[in-house]
């Protein structure tokens, strides 16, 4: 039975707002898209009070489980619960198929790019990507030149940020090829939602995500280096910076789910170019390290000397082929926000295919004419530092003050290579349960891609939500939250 337009304004949708953005739930006011109809109906029938109670119970359960993240530069209460929204974001199967194809293509091309840049450098010689752009990148690691990594895979764990533009198409906003996080929230959200909407979940036919940890372990094992300890299964460990890292919960969670040891730098030592962990029964050899520590901090003998998080001698063991690292060192050049602009060209160059997923228009500020345009239009654009992530080092033109714009103008003129600009995107919006009713908030989508023996995507990902009304920033460190993502079966 078609919904009458008036029902749109019944609770809990009384104050639901529309603007130019693509709405995930509604094709037009009061008219839910076919794949959202069942959820819409459920929300109309469900007493808001019940939903509110469920939300409270979910919040409390997150707090008790300690599903928290750490906020840097905030003295009191460094641990905070990552807000979870109860209303699922639903993606029909055909849309997911396209995303899956596009991301598989992208990770394959980016790996070929990294392999090329650290070996022969064909793409640079052919002038497809400017040489100086790569060599001036803060994440370029000279030490990786000529080093062969297991299976030639540099990026085995990737989290790519997608946004849906007003025309309904997904576009890639950025690639996270170093140490992407957030996957534990995807799994935790799913667990909560299955409890909140059991019938709805079953009737919708949602693709499961629970096998992520197993897929990750298989990916990591596939990287076991040629000189691994031999006859037994490779020993895989997860290297964490420690309990004060913002993603510490996730590190413990993944280690537990995979059944591998969670180690800190001080648990490992290198002897004769072999990595060992210190156990109560003596030293035990380590073959693969899923490291959640940044390049700079991995080995004080090779990289930052003041790092106490790393393992002295690790790089030499890596170079000797005695241990594998996931992701490899130096992958940051491929998610540099200026190199990002060249990814469509990179895909065409290595695969001879057109990119399935579009990029967002990007202005490169080391180019004079583009820089001049950007400096004149700062108020409309988003400016990002090329090497940063997590929503740090960003200027959102329309929401900025004159002072902030002046500050960025100065920084851009000082170090143009260090910044890029993009149009302010009107991210799509999805209903969130806030203040006892459904309200529209901007969302993005971060699917997780694994690359070992082959490319695996767990259907779904983390839908991040800008919880503040009107805000476009979805990062957890900047007041964002997340919701479960339901990819429907074919």
């Amino acid at each position: 039975m078609p919904e009458s337009p008036r029902s749109m304004f019944r609770p809990p949708f009384r104050s639901y707002q529309f603007d130019g953005a693509y709405d995930e739930m509604f094709a037009a006011p009061g008219e839910p898209r076919p794949h959202y109809r069942a959820l819409f109906q459920t929300l109309l029938e469900l007493p808001p009070e019940q939903l509110r109670k469920t939300q409270q119970a979910a919040d409390l359960s997150f707090l008790h489980q300690g599903i928290t993240f750490t906020v840097y530069g905030n003295e009191e209460g460094t641990e905070r619960v990552f807000p979870n929204d109860l209303l699922p974001r639903i993606i029909p199967h055909h849309e997911w198929s396209k995303i899956e194809g596009g991301l598989t293509q992208r990770i394959a091309a980016l790996n070929l790019f990294l392999e090329d840049v650290y070996h022969r450098g064909r793409i640079l010689a052919d002038g497809v990507v400017p040489r100086e752009l790569v060599y001036s990148c803060r994440h370029f690691r000279r030490e990786m030149r000529g080093l062969t990594v297991p299976r030639g895979i540099y990026v085995s764990v990737c989290g790519t940020d997608l946004v849906r533009l007003p025309d309904g198409n997904f576009a890639v906003l950025e690639d996270n090829l170093r140490v992407p996080s957030g996957v534990s929230y995807m799994l935790a959200n799913r667990k909560v939602l299955k409890r909140v909407f059991p019938t709805l979940f079953r009737d919708y036919g949602v693709c499961p995500v629970d096998h992520y940890a197993q897929a990750l372990l298989a990916t990591l094992r596939a990287l076991s280096p040629p000189n691994a300890s031999g006859w037994h299964e490779p020993t895989v460990v997860l290297l964490t910076p420690g309990v004060f890292n913002s993603a510490y919960f996730e590190h413990t969670f993944l280690a537990q789910q995979m059944g591998i040891e969670l180690v800190e730098g001080r648990d490992l030592l290198v002897h004769d170019n072999v990595v060992y962990m210190r156990t109560t029964a003596g030293l035990r050899r380590v073959d693969v390290i899923y490291r959640r520590v940044d390049d700079d901090f991995l080995d004080p003998l090779t990289f930052r000397r003041d790092s106490s998080l790393g393992v002295p001698g690790l790089f030499n063991a890596y170079r000797a082929g005695n241990v594998a690292l996931a992701n490899a060192i130096g992958t940051g050049i491929a998610d540099d926000k200026a190199v990002y602009a060249y990814v469509p060209a990179i895909i065409r160059y290595y695969l001879g295919e057109d990119p399935i997923l579009a990029n967002v228009d990007t202005y490169l500020l080391h180019d004079r004419s583009q820089r001049e345009y950007v400096l004149e239009h700062l108020q409309e654009l988003v400016v990002k530092a090329v090497g940063e992530s997590g929503g740090y080092g960003m200027l959102i033109g329309p929401h900025s003050t004159a002072e902030q714009r002046e500050e960025f103008r100065r920084r851009i003129q000082e170090e143009p290579r260090n910044y890029i600009a993009q149009p302010t995107l009107n991210l799509s919006r999805a209903p969130c349960f806030l203040e006892g009713e459904a309200q529209a908030r901007h969302v993005d989508l971060r699917p997780y891609i694994l690359y070992g023996e082959n490319v695996t995507l767990v259907p779904g990902g983390l839908t991040r939500v800008a919880l503040r009304r009107g805000s476009l920033v979805v990062n957890s460190s900047q007041g964002g939250g997340s919701k479960d993502t339901w990819v429907l079966r074919a």
Binding site: H64, Y248, L262, V263, M277, T279, T280, L283
Partner: protein
């Protein structure tokens, strides 16, 4: 061939589990002392209480205020909510939780949630007049929280190596805390050993037993007639009561034996030290102990216990690389 893979335990993880358990035991112990003190205070003159408060501070290794004056409010604050006192309840629960947080993938999620809940509860407590009046609720909550954690641990965690470190931590801490408490008590109170205690001191002896959760168990064994010699025998040498020194030492020895077997390490030293301590307690006679002085005896127990602790640290947690590569 068994499909079970070789299980390893990181030294740091073992260290964290051990200290987590010690801190939680310490918090529980302090909560029990305070709970008992609160009850005794009602029946006593302020002067009589003040003497016990100094003993309490000494037994908890907390320093008395500089002016030497102590009242119920100050004492309660120092031992419960004072974050600057590392042996206060709040500091111990926070330290236990911080240790478990670092190794939370090693314990069951039920354990983590239970300890986290206790921490959130303790940490949201603010001192004040109202809280002080109802502080018994707080002390009960801490004791119950710790008991619940133990129960959850025993029923949801594999009784493997990690569990043994938790046992070890709990009973090393208990041995030390009981020995300290008994030592200070017998140093301060000079009753005739083998006669029933007089009424004004009766309360103090009940207090000692209750502080070891032992009053009811003592009465079952010896009736409610309290004689210092019997109290000492019960708390030091009873082999079956879980808050006696001997029982605790037996458990330390059992945990160390199990760990030695699980790690297949020639860890004779910690086991040997615990075995010697165990033998000391098994073959001691209470009248001989009292003749030489209870305090000297418990100091020896504490010294041996500390030796075992150091040896555990050197063998399992922080060994030199060279020795491990050779084996």
């Amino acid at each position: 061939m068994s499909q079970r893979r070789e299980i390893t335990m990181l030294s740091r993880v073992a260290d964290c589990l051990y200290w987590m358990s010690r801190y939680l035991e310490r918090a529980e112990h302090t909560a029990r002392l305070m709970d008992v003190d609160l009850q005794l205070r009602l029946d006593q003159s302020p002067e009589a209480s003040a003497g016990r408060w100094l003993r309490l501070l000494e037994a908890s290794q907390a320093s008395a205020p500089e002016d030497g004056k102590i009242d119920a409010t100050t004492l309660t604050y120092i031992l419960t909510l004072d974050k600057t006192n590392p042996s206060s309840i709040i500091a111990c629960v926070a330290a236990a939780r911080e240790n478990l947080r670092q190794v939370r993938e090693q314990c069951s999620s039920e354990m983590w949630e239970q300890l986290n809940r206790l921490y959130l509860q303790v940490n949201s407590t603010t001192s004040g007049e109202a809280w002080l009046l109802n502080s018994y609720v707080f002390f009960r909550a801490v004791q119950e929280g710790a008991h619940l954690f133990q129960g959850v641990t025993d029923s949801t965690m594999a009784h493997g190596e990690g569990w043994q470190y938790i046992q070890l931590g709990r009973f090393v801490e208990r041995t030390d805390a009981l020995a300290r408490l008994i030592g200070t008590h017998f140093t301060w109170l000079h009753n005739s050993l083998d006669q029933a205690v007089e009424s004004e001191e009766y309360l103090e002896w009940v207090g000692l037993l209750k502080s070891c959760a032992a009053f009811e168990a003592y009465c079952k064994t010896y009736t409610a007639e309290l004689r210092p010699l019997r109290v000492a025998e019960f708390l030091l040498l009873n082999p079956r009561f879980p808050h006696s020194v001997r029982f605790s030492v037996d458990m330390v020895h059992a945990a160390l034996t199990a760990i030695g077997e699980l790690t297949e390490r020639k860890a004779e030293q910690p086991v040997r030290l615990a075995g010697r301590l165990r033998a000391t307690l098994s073959f001691s006679q209470i009248d001989e102990i009292m003749a030489a002085g209870a305090n000297a005896y418990v100091n020896n127990v504490r010294w041996q216990c500390a030796q075992a602790h150091n040896s555990i640290h050197q063998i399992y947690f922080d060994y030199p690389v060279e020795s491990a590569l050779l084996s």
